[in-house]
């Protein structure tokens, strides 16, 4: 397989152990060309450690990770060709200006990166502050400078660790727009985040990691579909409607939410329920399908596995399968 064909990120059995603590536990990742790949998990789940291993900053205790078929541990800087990004907050030399920082990084990139400094500063709208020292920059400006520094490398794979953390709502929106645009330009994006709306809006595939293990990997749409077809019902008499629904075959997980009655069922049973409600003389105000939100699925996956072994296969990963979802 040539480097151009090799997947942008492929991790197999990645392990990182700090003495007694198993920070990353046999993680497999498959990021394909063109993916906007969400890497989700609660704080301390092992996301950043995994990304550091991918970038060659941390030596894995076991397993391998390859970027376009190249192992950063074996090939060093060459494995990072076409790869850019940052883990945790991007860091710069506070005593230098933004432009000087980018000049330094461009010099360390080679490949004519210095000629792109003006362009990337324009993209992140930092051109007017280019001659200001980074020490005086806000968190949001540093995040944007981090993106600019990444773009200097003309990446094919962009690895971003919580890029919107600490940004104000407008900054978050702009960051999403920028990531969307970079993805549209053909850059594969590996986006670590615990901001679920961000992932829901940007990503097509996700891995959800909890306690160092991947508990789901696959298409976001598949994840939501496997979360179960839910419905929300609003009626003129909620108490009686709940009684009718609970008595009806094929209707599960009936509960009042304050905004109506949520339940799970297939379409045939929903039709039978509506007839039963009519027979009982209960007026239906609205009945609408509610796909499981990423948030509810995320909590279902991560909270059900806290402190217990993942109910996954031998390799600790459930590809395209919702682990912990209700039957």
């Amino acid at each position: 397989m040539s480097e151009d064909d090799a997947p942008p990120v492929r991790a197999r059995g990645l392990v990182k152990r700090y003495k007694e603590v198993l920070a990353v536990d046999h993680v497999d990742l498959n990021v394909d060309h063109g993916d906007v790949y969400g890497f989700l998990g609660p704080n301390g789940a092992g996301k950043t450690t995994t990304l550091r291993m991918a970038l060659g900053l941390i030596v894995p205790s076991g397993g391998t990770v390859e970027l376009f078929g190249r192992d950063p541990m074996r090939e060093g800087a060459r494995a990072l060709e076409g790869v850019a990004g940052f883990v945790e907050a991007p860091r710069f030399y506070p005593y230098m200006t933004a432009r000087k920082n980018l000049e330094l990084l461009a010099a360390l990139d080679g490949d004519g990166a210095a000629g792109r400094i003006g362009e990337v500063l324009d993209v992140v709208e930092l051109a007017p502050r280019a001659r200001h020292r980074v020490g005086g920059f806000s968190h949001g400006m540093r995040q944007r400078l981090g993106i600019a520094a990444a773009l200097l490398r003309r990446p094919r794979l962009l690895i971003l660790d919580e890029p919107a953390t600490g940004l104000d709502p407008a900054g978050m929106r702009d960051m999403r727009l920028l990531i969307r645009r970079l993805a549209d330009d053909g850059i594969t994006v590996l986006l670590s985040s615990h901001q679920l709306p961000e992932v829901q809006e940007l990503c097509d595939r996700v891995a959800i990691v909890d306690s160092g293990r991947v508990v789901y990997e696959g298409a976001l749409a598949d994840l939501r579909r496997q979360g179960g077809a839910g419905y929300r019902l609003r009626t003129a008499d909620e108490e009686r409607a709940i009684e009718v629904a609970r008595a009806q075959a094929g209707i599960a997980s009936v509960r009042a939410t304050g905004e109506g009655i949520d339940f799970q069922a297939d379409e045939g049973h929903v039709a039978e329920l509506s007839l039963a409600l009519g027979r009982a003389g209960i007026g239906i105000l609205s009945l609408s399908p509610e796909l499981a939100t990423l948030e509810s699925l995320f909590f279902r996956l991560t909270e059900s596995h806290a402190g217990e072994p993942a109910a996954t296969g031998r390799d600790g990963r459930a590809e395209g399968e919702l682990v912990g979802a209700e039957p």
């Binding site: 060093g76 907050a89 490949d111 324009d122 993209v123």
Partner: protein, 290 residues
């Protein structure tokens, strides 16, 4: 970033990128040093001491015999000043100054998180380590020769550019004396760069600037103490601190090259393992700071 949606594409057709050389990384390490105030603190120290010395000597205008042959000539030739300053500063002060940079050069970047920034670019870890070591060497050389230049200028300005008597009692002309002053500093650079190697190694291993600086200075103090313990005289030729006087042979007639050759290989015994250990640790270490 709202204009992002209208900006030109950032992905272009690519060929095999050209990787930067270690020289490029070294140049940027120097620029980083130049941009930091800490760098100038050491320079100010090594420049201020000769100036203070000359001012005090001018005020007191002491004459007559002193224990040291160069101290006796202080008001007779300005070239005695840089030799005396090298005698004083080579005991401890120069090592403190270079330790401030050597002990900080890796650990500081680790602590601030900028190490991860540069290690995710197109340079290998070995290049970064080599560039940092070379930058610390350059700083040490600059501090040493700057101090010598300031001492020479201040001395000559106060007492003139005259011939000078060496350790062996031979009078040498002023131009030759000047050459010997800078050759003596060049010889002293050998043990001084060894201290740099130890500082950079400790900076890499400890990941803590303060620990690395204190560790380097502490090591020198320890060796100085060992040199004072009775019964350990046989160790003296192999102690790093004894190599700090290697340049004395240059100020004798005929020139005694033996101490210089001896110090070269003894210093290598300290420097090479330090450099190799620091390099190996740097290559395999986890960069988790920042």
């Amino acid at each position: 970033m709202s204009s992002a949606a209208t900006a030109p594409p950032l992905v272009e057709a690519r060929s095999r990128p050209r990787r930067p050389s270690t020289l490029t990384v070294y140049r940027w390490e120097l620029r980083k040093l130049v941009a930091q105030k800490r760098t100038y603190l050491g320079f100010v120290l090594v420049c201020a001491l000769p100036l203070i010395f000359v001012i005090v000597e001018n005020i007191h205008e002491r004459q007559g015999h002193r224990d040291n042959i160069f101290a006796s000539q202080i008001s007779q030739s300005g070239l005695a000043t840089p030799v005396l300053m090298l005698l004083f500063l080579s005991v401890f002060m120069h090592h403190v100054v270079v330790s401030l940079v050597a002990g900080d050069i890796v650990a500081n970047e680790d602590g601030n998180g900028t190490l991860k920034t540069i290690l995710t670019r197109s340079v290998d870890r070995g290049q970064v380590y080599a560039a940092k070591l070379l930058a610390a060497f350059s700083y040490a050389a600059c501090a040493l020769f700057l101090s010598a230049a300031v001492a020479t200028l201040a001395g000559v300005a106060s007492w003139g550019f005259h011939s000078i008597t060496t350790f062996s009692g031979t009078v040498v002309s002023a131009p030759k004396g000047l050459l010997l002053v800078f050759a003596a500093n060049a010889c002293f650079l050998i043990p001084l760069l060894t201290v740099v190697c130890i500082g950079v190694m400790l900076s890499t291993v400890t990941r803590n600037s303060a620990a690395a600086v204190v560790g380097t200075i502490g090591f020198i103090i320890l060796v100085l103490i060992i040199g004072q313990i009775p019964g350990l005289e046989s160790l003296h030729p192999y102690l790093l601190t004894d190599q700090f006087e290697n340049w004395h042979g240059l100020l004798r007639t005929p020139t005694d090259w033996a101490p210089i050759g001896h110090s070269a290989w003894v210093c290598a015994l300290y420097a090479v393992p330090s450099v190799v250990a620091g390099y190996l640790v740097f290559l395999r270490r986890d960069v988790a700071g920042g």
